[in-house]
Amino acid sequence: MNKEYIHIILADDDEDDRLFFTDAFKELKISTKVNTFNDGVELMHYLNDPEAVLPNVLFLDLNMPKKNGIECLHEIKNNARFDNIAIAIYSTSSSEEDIEETFVIGANIYIKKPSDFASLKKILSEVVSINWQYHTSGLNKDNFLLRL
């Protein structure tokens, strides 16, 4: 990566979660640029702009109005332009179905939103420091769900 910061995008309809997310990165003091979108439509609108700066890591909430996370995931995976984006599913749910489905479609990691701020910071710092190429080659269903 020849940029001086890591470009991160979060698509989440929940205002509180966007707040936690941006606050966590502020406190982490990692050189990041965080963009947030309120739903899938806004996200895809941004990504589909050919001029857009593509993120290094995309955090995708599943349950969003208008266009949900699964639909976005499909569109991203079907477009070769987005091949280099690491996709982290970022959801309240940890149901087997959701984990299975997003794994099959091709997400890189599954994060269950933690219920305390310290854990959130820990998870986010870990995710942004993952070597995605290495992680993706050894990816299987068991290490897909991030455990701390």
Binding site: D16, D17, F20, T92, S93, P114, S115, D116, F117, A118
Partner: protein, 593 residues
């Protein structure tokens, strides 16, 4: 039924009947012959009498003529010649009769011819005597009279011979008759006797057959009655169609099924079709046509409209029977399956309801897993930030409240997580796979590793078997059991959990209920925790049942209920044994192939 027996008996009867007829014919023949011979004899007898009569008459006429002629010769009074004048005519008549009577007997016929000759000779002599007397030739007259006497003697002799011959003929005939018929009466008697015996035999036979027939008839009517009752109880009816003469017959219950009095209308095709629901009419007729073609068809369903307008569902089945003489009969059975049909409809309706409520439950699960967790998670995150950044700004009681909020929120999270797990274990997904249980145990230990490390727990396990199970559920089971032991461990004593496994058969282990599978794997979890009173051994598996105050031990009362659910999903058994302050033992039986 002994119908072939009856057939053989009727053949025997036919033979007896033919013999009887033959006997009667024989007797009639014999009697006829006897009577006709008798009549022949009587004709012979009367003929013999007639011959004698004519001979006597002939003799007396000759004598009369002779007496007349003598009288004339002596007196020369011509009145004496009267008999002589008529004698020729009378004699001719007599000979005509005699010739007729003796025409069948050659000897007698010749005798008659001889006699005729002699008689006419005598008459000539008589004529000559009268002529001599008229001419007064006394000498010639005397000579002639002598010649007349001699001729008369010859006539007498001839007649005697003839009478004798007649008598002889009669006696020969009598002899012949006697010879022929002396044995006839005894023969007739014997034959009549045989005929009688045969008749008696036939009567006995017929009587016996009639009795057997009656018995068979009786049995048949009993069988008929019981089949009628069976039809009523079984709610079915039957019908027959003799195809060749297009004759139908319906059983009583067939009528009842249609809502009619038994045999209340003529059994025929049109009358039956009248009751079939118009929409099913074509189908039924098509099926019947195919049955006549001797197609073997499965049962078919159709609707009928009963006499009172009620619509019922019928199931029918038919079979074409061809008897020995080649005539075909279609046998049919119909049963009223309306109740069955309605039950199926009801079951389907219930299934749909169940599916609906299942979907609602799934929706609820999702709501619980996602929508309920989300605000709770945010509350907890905000609390954690408050606790981290703002706690020192709070008063002592404020800090205490914050701590209590944290505990309550944690508890709520645990409850939601456990409830979700429980509802997930309710859903029996049939994805059984053969898996090494050691691997599932390792996963469970990994899941609990923070607590295990924190409590410095020791888990010792034997080698577990490979079983066909729902993997994630068994892993959950192990997790819950170990977590239970860790949770209820004694204070200041490192928890020790020993896991053992064995193969058992149902008959050897009294805890396995009978009438279940034979082979089980028994896995036992034993700990050194606080244990429990044995009387609660059943209660601890019930949802939300807890033995301890939640301030002492942080349990939701769901974990062991999940364990039981999972074991039941695998058609296994789980038992708990406890001793206060010694420990608890959980024993699981899982069926093996």
């Amino acid at each position: 039924m002994k119908f072939t027996g009856f057939l053989q008996k009727s053949l025997l009867l036919k033979v007896l009947f033919v013999i009887s007829i033959a006997v009667i014919f024989f007797i009639s023949g014999v009697t006829y012959k006897h009577l006709s011979t008798l009549s022949d004899s009587s004709i012979d007898v009367s003929r013999a009498h007639e011959v004698s009569l004519q001979l006597e008459r002939l003799m007396s006429q000759l004598r009369d003529a002779e007496t007349g002629s003598r009288g004339y010769i002596i007196t020369r009074d011509s009145t004496h010649l009267e008999p002589y004048n008529y004698v020729r005519i009378r004699i001719e008549a007599s000979f005509s009769i005699l010739n007729h009577l003796t025409k069948n007997n050659e000897v007698q016929n010749e005798n008659v011819a001889l006699l005729e000759n002699l008689v006419y000779n005598r008459l000539q002599i008589m004529e000559n005597s009268i002529a001599f007397a008229n001419a007064n030739k006394t000498e010639e007259l005397q000579l002639n009279l002598l010649r007349g006497k001699k001729t008369m003697d010859s006539i007498r002799n001839c007649i005697a011979t003839m009478s004798e011959l007649e008598t002889k003929i009669l006696s020969i005939r009598q002899q012949k008759y006697n010879n022929t018929f002396s044995n006839t009466p005894i023969l007739i008697y014997i034959i009549i006797l045989i005929g009688l015996i045969l008749s008696v035999l036939s009567f006995v036979k017929i009587n016996r057959d009639v009795n057997e027939l009656k018995k068979a008839n009786n049995q048949l009517s009993i069988a008929n009655e019981s089949s009628n009752m069976a039809e009523i109880v079984g709610n079915f009816g039957s019908w027959q169609w003799e195809i060749d003469n297009d004759k139908y017959s319906f059983s009583d219950n067939q009528y009842r099924l249609l809502g009619c009095e038994p045999q209340s209308f003529e059994a025929n095709f049109d009358n039956l079709m009248k009751y079939i629901h118009p929409e099913d009419l074509e189908h039924v007729q098509d099926v019947m046509n195919r049955m006549i073609q001797n197609e073997k068809l499965p049962s078919f369903n159709y609707r009928i409209i009963k006499e009172d307008g009620q619509i019922r569902y019928f199931r029918g089945i038919g079979k074409l029977i061809t008897n020995k003489s080649g005539s075909k009969t279609l046998l049919g059975t119909t049963s009223d399956i309306t109740d069955e049909y309605n039950a199926i409809l009801e079951t389907e309706e219930r299934n749909r309801e169940l599916e609906r409520s299942n979907k609602e439950l799934t929706a609820f699960n999702y709501a619980a897993s996602h929508d309920l967790q989300e605000p709770l998670r945010k509350i907890q995150t905000f609390i954690s930030r408050l606790d981290d950044n703002e706690a020192e700004n709070l008063s002592e009681s404020g800090k205490d409240y914050l701590k209590r909020i944290i505990v309550a929120a944690d508890r709520m999270r645990n409850l939601i997580d456990d409830l979700l797990q429980f509802s997930r274990s309710n859903k029996i997904e049939k994805n059984f796979e053969t898996i090494d249980l050691n691997q599932l145990l390792d996963n469970a230990k990994l899941e609990l590793s923070p607590t295990i490390e924190e409590k410095k727990a020791v888990i010792l396990s034997e080698k577990l078997p490979e079983l066909e199970v729902i993997p994630f559920q068994i892993q959950q089971l192990f997790t819950n059991l170990i977590s239970n032991s860790l949770k209820y461990s004694k204070e200041n004593v490192a928890p020790e959990i020993s896991i053992t496994a064995a193969k058992v058969t149902a008959s050897d282990d009294e805890r396995i209920p009978s009438a279940s599978k034979d082979k089980y794997s028994r896995i036992t979890f034993r700990d050194n925790g606080i244990g429990f009173e044995q009387e609660y051994a059943e209660k601890i598996f019930i949802l939300f049942n807890r033995l301890h105050n939640k301030n002492e031990y942080a349990g939701t009362g769901i974990g062991l209920a999940i364990c039981r659910k999972i074991v039941e999903n695998h058609k296994g058994y789980i038992f708990a044994d406890g001793e206060p302050n010694i420990g608890a033992t959980f024993t699981i039986y899982l069926p093996t192939a």
